[in-house]
């Protein structure tokens, strides 16, 4: 199936000379959840803003649902929903009216039943007549989502949806994303919470300095780049790693009681059994052993560090 969003050589330079995007290529498949990870200023929001029509690209093309975002903007913008990062809402509108307004702007006839359902799904229904300025930050975030859902988009961009949001709302949002995906909505979310990407995304893209560093299936990415670490607790402290153990590249810490060994879990030989026998040959008594896999966060820090 053709990708629902297709980005080719997307470039954005500002008059100041700053290059926010330096030739991005990316295909987003229908129905997937793609998480875009990247530090502040990486180009995430610029990319989304171009696709949605808020920023004009300097070069490159983007198609959404097979339509060009510039020449066929009516078609692309009717199927794109955007939840912006900033909590920008009118102060004096009511919740219901602002959601209905979004639906109208996107050319859809009024549908009170649908808006009622969306507001109920987002626990906003009892606030429907409240003025927006009286809402808390979390509620305002929900309103922004309701606005974006009011015209039933096929592609939904969530720009840092859980920034500054409490745990319960974050869980609610993840559930909502799951429900939308079940209905066939393609979701692109940007975040710097790795945990979030790990939890809900199918694929993960890492972006920094205006370039996509990689886009990979989440599981494959974790397996490919995931390094495992084995920690050996010694019964008695040692002052230095014995020479016989030098091929393993161990590091000694915690006042000589802890040895750390890094290995590639996808490799054919992890070297664990030979290390264990080498330890006993050196006369070291082992108190405890634990292994842990590096998280997406470690992978991310590593990649972004390399990108510099």
């Amino acid at each position: 199936m053709a990708p629902i969003v297709s980005i080719r050589n997307l470039t954005k330079s500002y008059a100041s000379g700053f290059k926010a995007l330096k030739g991005v290529d990316l295909d987003i498949e229908q129905g997937e959840i793609l998480a875009l990870l990247g530090p502040n200023g990486a180009g995430k929001t610029t990319m989304i803003s171009i696709i949605c029509g808020i920023v004009t690209p300097s070069d490159g093309t983007v198609t959404v649902g097979g339509h060009d975002i510039l020449t066929d903007y009516r078609k692309t913008r009717s199927i794109i929903g955007l939840v912006p990062q900033e909590l920008t809402l009118d102060a004096f509108e009511t919740v219901y009216n602002t959601v209905a307004f979004s639906r109208g702007l996107h050319g859809c006839a009024p549908n009170p039943a649908l808006i009622e359902r969306i507001l109920k799904d987002l626990s906003l229904y009892d606030k429907k007549d409240t003025m927006l300025r009286h809402l808390s930050g979390g509620m305002r975030r929900r309103v922004l989502i309701a606005k974006a859902l009011s015209y039933e988009p096929k592609v939904l961009f969530l720009d840092e949806p859980t920034a500054g949001v409490d745990v319960s709302l974050r869980k609610d949002m993840w559930q909502l994303v799951e429900r939308l995906r079940a209905n066939g909505v393609t979701i692109i979310l940007t975040t710097h919470y790795i945990e979030e990407a790990e939890e809900i995304a199918d694929r993960i893209g890492v972006i920094n300095h205006g370039r996509i560093l990689l886009v990979e299936d989440k599981k494959a990415l974790m397996a490919k780049l995931g390094r495992k670490q084995m920690t050996v607790e010694l019964a008695e402290p040692i002052t230095a790693v014995p020479d016989a153990l030098s091929p393993y590249g161990l590091t000694l810490s915690d006042e000589g009681t802890r040895l750390t060994y890094e290995f590639d879990s996808s490799g054919e030989r992890t070297g664990i059994s030979s290390l264990l026998s080498a330890l006993s040959q050196c006369g070291l008594r082992v108190k405890d052993i634990s292994t842990e896999q590096s998280s997406l966060e470690d992978i991310f820090v590593e990649l972004v560090g390399e990108g510099k």
Binding site: I54, T56, R74, R77, E93, S102, H106, G107, A109
Partner: protein, 253 residues
């Protein structure tokens, strides 16, 4: 055409008018009534007629124009400036709407509001002075064309303005002198020749004169010239607006 979008923008703007009823409707009516009491009833009773029309009746069209201009510029500019200021403009830019639809929505609402206030003032004026409208069709034409073109002018100011100071520059500092010196309260043939010449460079003179002609058939300039001036201004505003949307001036990076 995305009619739902036009309807939504128009309804949104009119809802803002309803929320600010005191400021938008009551305040201009009170101000204008004060003008009629002072200039029409108090001072006007001691003034000569101007071209056969009582002074109070003579100033009515000018006062309506003064309010109409201020209302249209104010509403037209605020409607688009405020989303820019709060950031909600993102929604307009990411919606499947064209420039024409945005303009029809905002300018249509600003002009409607200006016309409502203008009509209320016309009715109010009729309580204080004798109003007669000799060319109702021309009067409505001037009324509507002025409302639309100055709402469009306001819309441009709203896009151009960087802050509230710039936003208020036109309604507070530029429009009042143009209106007061544009023959709203006098016929320019009362002025010395030099100032008569200067007045002809004031576009508001043509508006007020044409509008007053449709009431009493008295005019400082030929009504056809007045009409052409309003139409010309409308075309200039439309062209600049088209350019703004084409280039994304101050709206898009």
């Amino acid at each position: 055409m995305n009619f739902e979008a036009i309807k939504s923008i128009y309804a949104f703007e009119m809802a803002r008018t309803r929320r600010t009823m005191l400021q938008s409707i009551v305040s201009p009516v009170i101000t204008t009534s004060l003008y009629f009491i002072v200039f029409g009833a108090a001072i006007g009773s001691r003034m000569q007629e101007v071209n056969g029309v009582s002074y109070g009746a003579f100033i009515a069209p000018g006062l309506i124009m003064l309010t109409l201009l201020n209302q249209c510029i104010g509403n037209g500019s605020f409607g688009i400036y405020f989303p820019k200021f709060t950031g909600t403009i993102y929604e307009l830019l990411s919606s499947p709407i064209s420039m024409i639809e945005i303009v029809i929505g905002y300018v249509g609402a600003a002009a409607t509001k200006g016309l409502i206030v203008g009509t209320i003032i016309l009715v109010t004026a009729a309580f204080f002075v004798d109003i007669s409208i000799k060319h109702p069709f021309m009067m409505v034409l001037f009324f509507v064309l002025t409302a639309v073109s100055f709402s469009l002018f306001g819309f441009m100011i709203g896009i151009w303005a960087k802050d509230f100071e710039q936003l208020n520059l036109f309604p507070m500092l530029i429009v009042p002198p143009l209106v007061f010196l544009g023959g709203s309260f006098y016929s320019i043939d009362m002025l010395p020749p030099f100032w008569q010449t200067v007045s002809h460079f004031n576009p508001v003179l043509y508006l007020v004169s044409g509008f007053r002609w449709s009431f009493y058939e008295i005019a400082d300039v030929n009504p056809v010239v007045s009409l052409l001036t309003v139409l010309g201004f409308l075309v200039v505003c439309l062209s600049i607006t088209a350019w703004i949307f084409k280039t994304g001036y101050k709206l898009k990076n």
